[in-house]
Amino acid sequence: MSPSAGDRYSTGATPNAPAEQAPAGIDLAESVLVARFWERIRLFATRRLRDVASAEDVAQETIRRVIEALRAGRVQDLDALPGFVFQTARHICLQRMRSSGRENRAMERMAADSSEASEAPDVLTALVSAERCAAVRAALASLDPPDRELLELLYYEAVDSADVAARLGISAGALRVRKHRAVRRLSELLGESVP
């Protein structure tokens, strides 16, 4: 769900930038940033803030601040960029969590009153679109049963990898290999390459 750079957020004019430095180059940088980091920030923020809409706000704000920092020359080494994006997103999440802390606690109390036990919703899987789910579901169904069962044990039932290996009667190394093959086959079925 990566938005196009142009319409998602305003980048604003840098105060001293001459008019001749056309936005074209900056828009490209923004597109690259969005493409590379948007989904990462979204997952990162959803885990902390427990809702996707807030996570997308964080992603927008993070990209905006990172671009500002790039233009101001505050990120010299591009190798440090992922770390910089990470720290920026983390900072924004912390700010939000602090300010909404009181609100969240009240909601939690209300939820606890109205249900037998509180349960953290599986909000991370909500990040996967219905269409993507359907595509992956179909691909899983086409996998050989042992491959499918292995991936479901690990990722759906969240059985510890050591226990999965024990259950299947194989070594940890053999499990790694099998998992890699199963993921590769799944990717092929989805028409994608494995990096």
Binding site: R40, S115, E119, P121, T125, A134, V136, L154, Y156, L186
Partner: protein, 210 residues
């Protein structure tokens, strides 16, 4: 945290299941911001997790709204009392449904021995649905599914408790039209032991602050 460690321990699996400590989770996050391989790995883990646990049995298209006239069936008495007590709690609007599902529906007859029903209570608060249900004997887990009016599965959660909260606003793409929740009690083999009738997730104005 290195790629080696991540591969060896399937860290991405524990991350999406949220069983890592906060420190471990953050270390993994710092890693996947920089590493394409591990980023692809966690995306795949999340997708498999999201796509798994869906019914093998096709859900019959839903052509009518959920709430039917309640039928007298063997009632879990304690649940009825709890539900009645809960109604007086001013926490939003309550939608209480009981009774059996539509007789002869494809979905019902496709399940082996699914004669028991679950009672379901739904509270809507803003964009979140709080769903609670009666427990079923022999159940290992409960699965709550959000469906649209044509029976498409939008979201599924499987839990061991008898309650779940679902952020409706987080369903993407945003669904239009009526939404329903269906709760199944599952045994260890994921066979359906009991099923609650489809319950409409009615939009509701946010509760007034006390």
């Amino acid at each position: 945290m290195t790629c080696e460690e991540i591969l060896d321990q399937s860290i991405e699996a524990r991350y999406v299941a949220e069983t890592l400590s906060e420190e471990e989770a953050e270390a993994f996050e710092a890693h996947y911001f920089a590493c394409e391989t591990c980023w692809a790995s966690v995306q795949r883990a999340l997708e498999v997790r999201a796509a798994s646990g869906t019914p093998v049995v096709a859900i019959a298209p839903i052509r009518e709204t959920a709430t039917k006239l309640p039928r007298r069936v063997a009632s879990p008495g304690r649940w009825a009392m709890l539900a009645a007590a809960a109604v007086v709690v001013a926490a939003g609007s309550w939608l209480l449904t009981r009774g059996g599902g539509p007789p002869g529906s494809d979905a019902t007859t496709a399940m082996r021995g699914a004669t028991d029903t679950l009672a379901v209570v739904v509270t809507m608060n803003g964009g979140t649905a709080y769903v609670s249900w009666s427990r079923a004997r022999g159940a290992s887990t409960y699965r709550a599914r959000v469906l649209n009016a044509t029976g498409d599965l939008l979201l599924a959660r499987e839990v061991t408790d008898s309650t779940v909260s679902i952020a409706i606003d987080s369903i993407v793409p945003r669904p239009s039209g009526a939404l329903f929740v269906q709760v199944d009690a599952l045994d260890q083999l994921h066979a359906v032991l009991a099923r609650a009738p489809l319950t409409r997730l009615a939009p509701f104005a946010p509760a007034k602050s006390p």
